[in-house]
Amino acid sequence: MDKIWLIIQREYLTRVRKKSFLIMSLLAPLLLAGTTIGIAKLSGSSEADVVAVRDESGQQLLQHLTSTEDVRFVPATGNSLYEATTAFKEAKPKQQALLYFPPSFTLDNSKGIQLLADGNVSLKRQSNIRKAINKTVGTLKMSRSGLNQTTIDNLNANVEMDAVDLTQVGGRKNNVGATTGAAYVLSILVYMFIFIYGVQVMRGVSEEKSSRIMEVMLSSVKPFQLMMGKILGIAAVVFTQFALWIALSWGLTTLAAPLLADSVRKSPPVAAASGVQEATADRDAAAYNATTATAPEAPTVSTSPWDFLDGLPVATIIGGFLFFFLGGYLLYSSMFAAIGAAVDDQTDAQQFMFPVTIPLILSYIVSINVIINGDPNGPLAFWLSMIPFTSPIAMVMRLPFGVPLWQLLLSAALLVSGFIFTTWVASRIYRVGVLMYGKKVNYRELSRWMFYKG
């Protein structure tokens, strides 16, 4: 045990002392803080799209097209479509697109509408504009059929809906944005770090092999100790990096918080909108709390950048993230270690990396579709978060949505047995591979190594 500790120390210290480690540790939080501030600035200044409208149909559509938070409609300048096209491009303030209603357009023949823009118009923008036109045409049709404006206004339902998560204490309002965001960020962190540091393990092993120090090492320590020492040493590096990042990001974001608050205040439409939302939320929450006879929460108004964490099971997420990351890392890095041991140089490693990276990549892609875009508690999501090869990513992705305790524990137990199994297999391959030089290995050879004696 002393020896494995020495190996862990060496692996850890040689990596932490590297300049690249220091640079990564400092740069990443700066980048994170930078992007956070950047996004805040950008979203603060984002205004409704301006769409110029050229109506040749004579239906007075522009008057009826109601501008919303997202789109504002203005009349196009110029006497022809061609002139309008050039005019909207040079317009100030900037106009994003030109909406054209052809002369053939009537309420019953709505074909031929065109949206002209430089480059592609995003789907979201198109759908906003389409919605506005639909609503206008609908209203016009209704008024043509003899309904008066008040009736029409009454007919147009303007529904607002809040999703309330009952698993949360006091039935907090469900913050889908934060949940989804957390699911994305955490799972991509797991994916990236397993990959980056798994490959580091592999490179470390193949460097040891190609520098021919293996025989000296193995006359002092067991191959298993050498392999686990490296894997755990690198794991310690990852956690150090995490700790540094969290500390630095927290420090930087706290420093940057006043800046964020400023930029929010500078953008009245968004601030107003969110103000309304908050008020509604508070009222609803109060109403809900009243019905469930819990003490109403004091409406807190804070400008902390960590507000988005409200409503998430933070402790479970952090604990789960650390556990599943470590488990996944141990599972995959032992396989990477076996690859490093089996091949003579790193170009040969490619063919063996493929089957190891495929489950990793697939579990990320499939999980996004199944969990974030689908049902986070559905049967497929369940199985993905149970199989040890996919669970590190899938379970971490499910965590922000709330996972029943028994599933967490079952998945954790399966992951532990999973990495014990891969580590065992890997160590069998490793111990033969590290002393095998000048031999092209294939899968059959590898499977034979597993059953070598001694």
């Binding site: 020495l6 120090i213 193995l218 002393l435 030089y437 004696k453 001694g454």
Partner: protein, 313 residues
């Protein structure tokens, strides 16, 4: 005296070939033991079993009568033929690390490293990365790493390869010095001149079998062919019932050089008596086979069908 290291009927087979079949060895304490054999004979396999890198399929290794176990790791020092160090690690740190892995305490290791560094003139290199050192320097560092924990058994696999003559001599002196201080040295090589110079005992392994072992002197005695070299002046009888002239060379002024093999029952003194009566003797010496000759002879004897060994190590 109990041998410090014993191999008893050791077998080891890999998927494709047999590396060792029934090899038994006794290695006496405080000796320099030469483990000889052509490439692929099984030397490295045997060493890897002794150093506990692999295990034997059957048979056992005993250290001072005790079955080999992990506690022995600290008593064995091993310099493999394939040498390497961590390239990006400083010389001092590397030595400390390797010594600690062999069970030395940090304080002990630091002190001993200092001693060895001074001895082998590596002082200016202590804080350099290994990759900045010349190959010879790296070899010295490796040698230090092998003996730092003062093992009682030191295994050196081709220790002189890669050393220039000056450093090779330095290492040779260190090896002799280590034996003086009580270490047993196992020497795996196919460089015969160093064997004759250093080894007290040898074992010859060929194609997974031990084909010969014993003290260098005994082996040489066994392989003596009762052949004597005679130089002198005069005329020597070519046929004689007691001996046979294997080679005869005439030199100027009636000088000659002969190699003479004695028949069974004839002593060198008989030959000498005959010579003294018949010719003027300038030189008379026994032709002693070199270890190299013995090595080649035994290998060829045990390898009738081909002289070239192709099985990889």
């Amino acid at each position: 005296m109990q041998p410090i290291l014993q191999a008893i009927d050791v077998h080891k087979a890999y998927a494709a070939h047999t590396a060792l079949s029934g090899v038994s060895l006794d290695i006496p304490e405080r000796s320099i033991f030469g483990l000889l054999g052509p490439n692929g004979a099984g030397k490295t396999s045997l060493i890897r079993i002794i150093t506990q890198i692999t295990a034997a399929d059957s048979g056992e290794i005993r250290v001072r009568g005790e079955k080999l176990n992990p506690r022995h790791i600290g008593q064995i020092g091993y310099l493999p033929e394939e040498r390497g160090l961590y390239k990006k690690m400083k010389v001092g740190e590397q030595l400390l690390y390797l010594a600690q892995l062999r069970g030395l305490s940090k304080a002990d290791a630091t002190q001993r490293i200092k001693g060895w560094i001074d001895r082998l003139e590596l002082k200016p290199w202590v804080n350099k990365n290994v990759e900045d050192l010349s190959k010879g320097m790296q070899q010295k560092v490796q040698f230090i790493a092998t003996v730092l924990h003062e093992p009682s058994i030191i295994i050196l696999d081709e220790p002189f390869s890669g050393f220039d003559p000056i450093n090779a001599n330095l290492i040779k002196d260190e090896i002799l010095e280590l034996r003086e201080r009580g270490a047993t040295i196992i020497f795996s090589t196919h460089r015969m001149e160093s064997v004759e110079e250093l080894c007290d005992n040898i074992a010859l392994i060929n194609r997974s079998h031990k084909v010969l072992d014993g003290s260098v002197r005994d082996i040489k005695d066994t392989f003596k062919t009762q052949t004597y070299v005679v130089e002198g002046r005069g005329r020597l009888m070519v046929t004689h019932p007691d001996f046979e002239v294997l080679e005869h060379k005439e030199r100027e002024n009636g000088h000659f050089y002969d190699r003479i093999k004695l028949h069974a029952g004839t002593t060198p003194n008989d030959l000498l008596r005959y010579l003294i009566h018949n010719v003027e003797v300038h030189a008379f010496r026994e032709q002693i086979p070199s270890i190299n000759d013995i090595f080649i002879r035994r290998v060829q004897e045990t390898m009738p069908e081909s002289l070239v060994e192709t099985t990889p190590a």
